[in-house]
């Protein structure tokens, strides 16, 4: 198959020594096997995420994403924009929708962009990496690269919020999307069926400002995974990953639980199943070690 190229929007958390740098490591390894070339948008900026609303009004926030689209149009005009972060993808897609559908916003945004010497059409497709995997490859094609099936590992597919709503992945439902489960199966592992916190919220950015309320949500997400017999949790979102992995210690203290469940990215699973090493799969980035994956990766 010919090399596939995309205009890549990595996002802040994927940068070197940032909270999802391990996500980026595994995405790179996965793309290497799939012969995907990610062309980074030159000088891309933060999308302002959802929580940017208090400081930025509507137009300044839209301008942030519009600048990225403008830079992408200049550098890689014939490619789809692909994001790996749920918030980056959502903010960019939302901006595109507003620019085309809300009267006057396109003109106003371009007036603002002109101050930085840019102009935007916002007509490139904006896609999540998961869409690329499912739509441009498909499960069968993804399965062909598996050299080390993840046999005997039970995995809860935690889709979370922003990869799922309001846009979601084509052909999937908001209430019970199946793509992570199908992907888990494709890689030779066992999905947790009827994982009832699959699309529940982890608190997102409010894990910082409302820690107790958010940790109560995270506790339910983890408990449901254990109830389904999961060895680990897989997610497509950097915020979900961080919140569900990093707060287990604090939750254990507060609720007297003994949570110790690894939370990995779909790209971590794929890298390991595709024969990549412990480091190449980003497994050294696990605060809670994914020992079963470590063992396979070190084989």
């Amino acid at each position: 198959m010919a090399k596939k190229e995309y205009s890549f929007y990595p996002g802040c958390s994927s940068q070197k020594a940032a909270s999802a740098s391990n996500y980026q490591t595994s995405v790179n390894s996965m793309c290497d096997v799939l012969d995907v070339q990610l062309n980074e948008i030159p000088d891309w900026n933060c999308c302002a995420a959802s929580i940017g609303y208090a400081g930025g009004g509507e137009l300044p926030r839209l301008a942030m994403s519009a600048r990225n689209m403008a830079l992408s149009e200049q550098a890689h005009p014939d490619q789809d924009i692909v994001a790996t972060c749920a918030a980056c993808w959502l903010a960019t897609k939302e901006t595109q929708e507003r620019l085309h559908n809300d009267g006057g916003l396109m003109e106003e945004t371009n007036k603002a962009l002109a101050e930085g010497g840019l102009t935007v059409k916002a007509d490139q497709n904006i896609r999540h990496m998961v869409e690329v995997l499912i739509e441009d490859f498909g499960y069968d094609a993804l399965g062909k690269h598996v050299t080390r099936p993840l046999e005997g590992i039970k995995i809860a597919g935690y889709v979370g919020c922003q990869t799922n709503r309001p846009f979601g992945i084509d052909g999937e439902s908001f209430e019970n999307p199946k793509y992570l489960d199908k992907l888990v199966e494709t890689l030779g592992a066992d999905p947790v069926n009827n994982y009832d916190r699959k699309v529940s919220c982890c608190g997102g950015a409010l894990a910082f400002s409302e820690p107790e309320k958010s940790q109560a949500l995270i506790k339910d997400i983890i408990e449901a995974a254990y109830d389904g017999g999961a060895d680990m949790i897989v997610t497509p979102c950097p915020v979900c990953q961080l919140n569900v992995e990093a707060y287990q210690g604090q939750i254990n203290k507060k609720y007297n639980t003994k949570f110790d469940i690894p939370v990995v990215y779909y790209s971590t699973l794929m890298s390991v199943a595709y024969g990549k090493s412990y480091k190449e799969s980003g497994l050294d980035g696990q605060m809670i070690k994914a020992k079963q994956l470590d063992a396979i990766a070190k084989k």
């Binding site: 070197k16 391990n22 995420a49 300044p60 106003e108």
Partner: protein, 206 residues
């Protein structure tokens, strides 16, 4: 009370709904709410809202300006988009909540010590400074946003998590001294300044 607030009270004397429609992001949707309450039932923080979304919508129509804008409620939005996905009328509820929160803050009516407001403001300042989020400086500023003593307490509480992040190279102390940045910060700042100007000029028109 801010000057802007006084001006808005003067202008929209009898209709808070018109004020929201003109000044709040996606505010023109408010009148479409049919009070079914699916949004409230779908919200992960539902139990913590003094006034759940559909109640806020009715309060807006009833002209309860002060009660709406000084409420903690809309600051409870986690941006999970459940309400948007489920609203039978298709209201962009998440965005309206963000819009109400932003407007309340601009008018100086948001509760002074609102934690999410503080965090969200720090986040915006952090990301616009260099065009990219500096996670370390964001974290440190957050710890201390409620004063020094609270900051030390939070830092101690977060100590283990911080250490794990350092150990796994998912945080770097070097970020304290500058860190990630876009190249054209000047261009970005000019864009944002213009965007703000356009928005403010629009608010004056109504």
């Amino acid at each position: 009370m801010s000057d802007m607030n006084t001006a808005m009270v003067e202008k929209y004397r009898n209709s808070f709904l018109s004020e929201v429609e003109a000044n709040v992001e996606e505010g023109e949707w408010v009148k479409m709410c049919m009070q079914c309450g699916v949004c409230s039932g779908s919200c992960p923080f539902g139990p913590y809202w003094d006034h759940p979304p559909q109640e806020l919508f009715m309060m807006i129509r009833a002209g309860k300006r002060e009660a709406v804008l000084s409420s903690e409620s809309m600051w409870m939005c986690t941006s999970c988009y459940n309400c948007i996905a489920r609203c039978p009328r298709g209201l962009p509820i998440t965005h309206i909540m963000h819009g109400l929160a932003h407007y309340a803050k601009r008018l100086g009516l948001a509760p002074k010590n609102q934690q999410t407001m503080k965090f969200a403001s720090i986040f915006w300042d952090n990301l616009t400074k260099k065009g990219r989020v500096n996670e370390l400086q964001l974290g440190l500023k957050l710890y201390f946003m409620n004063g020094f003593v609270e900051g030390i307490k939070t830092a101690l509480c977060m100590k283990e998590m911080g250490m794990s992040m350092l150990m796994t190279k998912r945080m770097s102390p070097m970020e304290y001294f500058g860190g990630h940045s876009i190249k054209d910060t000047k261009g970005l700042h000019a864009i944002l300044k213009k965007a703000r100007e356009i928005e403010e000029a629009k608010a004056k028109q109504f």
